[in-house]
Structure formats: structure tokens, C-alpha cells
Amino acid sequence: MWEFLELIENSSFSHWLRESPSLLAYPTVLALHAIGMAFLVGLNTMIALRVLGFARGIPLAPMNKLFPVMFVGFWVNAVSGLMLTALQAINFMSNPTFYIKMTAVGAAILCLRSLRTTVFISGAAAEDQRLTGRAKVLAVSSLSLWLIAIVSGRLIAYSFYVSWRTAVAVVIALTVFLIVRFIGARVIAPSTSDARLGVSPSTAIK
């Protein structure tokens, strides 16, 4: 196993990617990994927010058309991610944080697939009815899993000590955000909740 990883790490491709002074080598692969993430996770987040009841005026069914863009984002990241792993195969494969990230990414993709089946393929979206609890659970799960994937992906580059501290800091920051966003908003302006939802769903789907 380790010999194989060493082989990958020392391949001429890895050497070129690592050592080429060209900005089109390593930096561009890293940048593509960030851009792919932005489109895949960004659109996933917007669909999840809509399923959770934000911007209810948006008809859900046509959001199914966003999946091809997310597929492109996914494949850009699968390919760029493989290239980045090949660079430091041994380093990554012996890093627990890397496994946390990959598990979270895999689970997030499975969640997204289930969400698509539950909401779009089943026809629930077209009827524009109240979504099932299952759809909301899947939406929250996919958001949480992407958060874990992104935080752990970033922390692959850090030591266990720093990673642990950062993970705690992220949880605290997220808790503060949720308290301010949902409890705070209700305390300060209880009447604005309807305005946030957007226009009523009608005339949406032809």
C-alpha cells in the first residue's frame, strides 16, 4: 500500500505538479478545487435553504435544473482533488483529518442524491405541497456534512492541536450565528417573519 502511494507521489506527473513554476500547475488546480466547491456547495445550500422554508416564493420544481451545474462542480473537484491527493499521497493517507473530510464529502453527496429523489424525482416539488419532514432532515444533514467537509478540508494542512482548537471555535461561532439569526431575529422583530418568506407560490410552474 505505502509503496504504491510512494510511487504516485514520485510519479513524473506529481513532480511536475509540485515543482512546476507555472501558475497553471499547482495553484490553478487548487483554485479550481475552490471554484468547483463554490458552485456545488453554493447551489446545494440554496436548494437546502429553499427546502427549509426560506424564499418560499421560489417554485421548487425548476430548481432541479441546477443539478447539471452541481455535477460539473462535483467532477471538477473530484479530478482536481485526485490530483492534489497524488501530490502528497502518503501525507494525506496517514492524516485522520483527510478521512473525516472524505467521509463527510461522500455522505454529503449521498444526502444530495436522496434529497433529489425525495423532493424532485418523487414529484413532491411539482405539487408545491408542504415538504415532508424527511426532506428537511436531508437538507439540514447536507448543510452540516458540507460544513464538516469544508472545515476538515481546510484543517488537513494543520496539526492536530490547531485542528482541535479550530473545530471548537467553528462550533462556537456557528452557535452564536444560529442564536442571533433565529432567536435574536424573533425577539427583535417578531412580525417580519412573513416578509422574509417572499411572495406566495402561484403562477410559478407552467
Partner: protein, 170 residues
């Protein structure tokens, strides 16, 4: 000018805080990623609809997602300012030197400025109002499509240029 900028960019106590708390820098990096995801998610979705993707969505309700994009952008600005303020202890140089020599950072800031001007153009040319009335399956005016396309290009460019900043050519 230089001394003023050097003074304005100097935050020794904040710099020290980031140095002494190992989690501060990676937390800012994480916030930067989450911010760009919300920005691309909300603004990208709006732009893609104007460009003709998922045309069955009327434009007006899509605006309800834009505050998430604004929130994402704010996260990026705050975390980005953290990076700049913590330059001295992380890279042993003054932020002023980085801002004046790092071409990628300069290009990134230029792209953000252009994205801002593009957004202003969206309002000034009346396109913002023109798309407001678009119902399901309506096509956006050509100018609105152009502005939306430029927006997607510029924001993707901002991410690309941002990722190049560590490869300092200055």
C-alpha cells in the same frame, strides 16, 4: 500617503491576538470559504437564472436569497481583513508591502471593484427593474444577460486570483 496607509493597516494588538490563538487564522480561512459559498450560491443562482438556466423560476422571489449572498460577502470581507491585519507576524512584513507588491491581491481587489461597478450598472441601466417583472419562462433582456455573465466571470475570477495570492510574484 504611504505613512497614512501604513498607519491605517497597522493593528498590532489584533495581529498579536491572531498569533497567540492558533485557531484564529484557520477559523478566518474557514469563514472565507463559507462566505464565498454563500456568495456564489445566492448571486450565482440569480445570475444563472437571468442567463436562462431554470427559466421556470420567476426572478422576484429569487431576490429573497440575495441577503445570504450579502452575508457571505460580509464574512469574506471580515475574514479577509483578518488575513491582512495578521500579515506582520505570519509573514514578517508590513501589510502595506504586500498590498503594493502582490499582483494577485491587487488583481483580486480590482475584480471585486469591477463586480461592484457591474452591480451598479445593473441598477443604473434599469436592468434590475426590467428583470423584476420576469415571470416563469420569460427571457431576460440581452443587457441583463451580459451583466449576469460578467458577474459570474468576475466572482469566479475573484476566487481564482485569491487562491494565487500565496504565490507572491512581487
Amino acid at each position: 500617503m504611504e505613512s497614512t496607509l501604513r498607519y491605517l493597516l497597522d493593528w498590532p494588538a489584533f495581529d498579536l491576538f491572531v498569533t497567540q490563538n492558533a485557531w484564529a487564522w484557520p477559523l478566518a480561512e474557514t469563514a472565507h470559504f463559507i462566505g464565498l459559498i454563500l456568495l456564489i450560491g445566492a448571486v450565482g443562482l440569480f445570475d444563472l437564472r437571468i442567463l436562462g438556466l431554470a427559466k421556470q423560476i420567476p426572478i422576484a422571489p429569487l431576490r429573497r436569497l440575495l441577503p445570504w449572498g450579502v452575508f457571505g460577502f460580509s464574512l469574506c470581507v471580515l475574514s479577509g481583513m483578518t488575513f491582512v491585519a495578521a500579515i506582520p507576524s505570519n509573514f514578517g512584513t508590513h501589510p502595506y508591502n504586500v498590498l503594493t507588491t502582490n499582483v494577485w491581491l491587487q488583481l483580486k481587489l480590482l475584480f471585486i471593484l469591477l463586480a461592484g461597478l457591474n452591480l451598479a450598472a445593473f441598477y443604473v441601466t434599469g436592468m434590475s427593474r426590467a428583470v423584476e417583472s420576469l415571470r416563469a419562462n420569460d427571457d431576460a433582456p440581452l443587457l441583463a444577460r451580459g451583466i449576469a455573465g460578467v458577474s459570474v466571470f468576475l466572482w469566479a475570477g475573484v476566487i481564482y486570483l485569491g487562491r494565487l495570492i500565496p504565490w507572491d510574484v512581487g
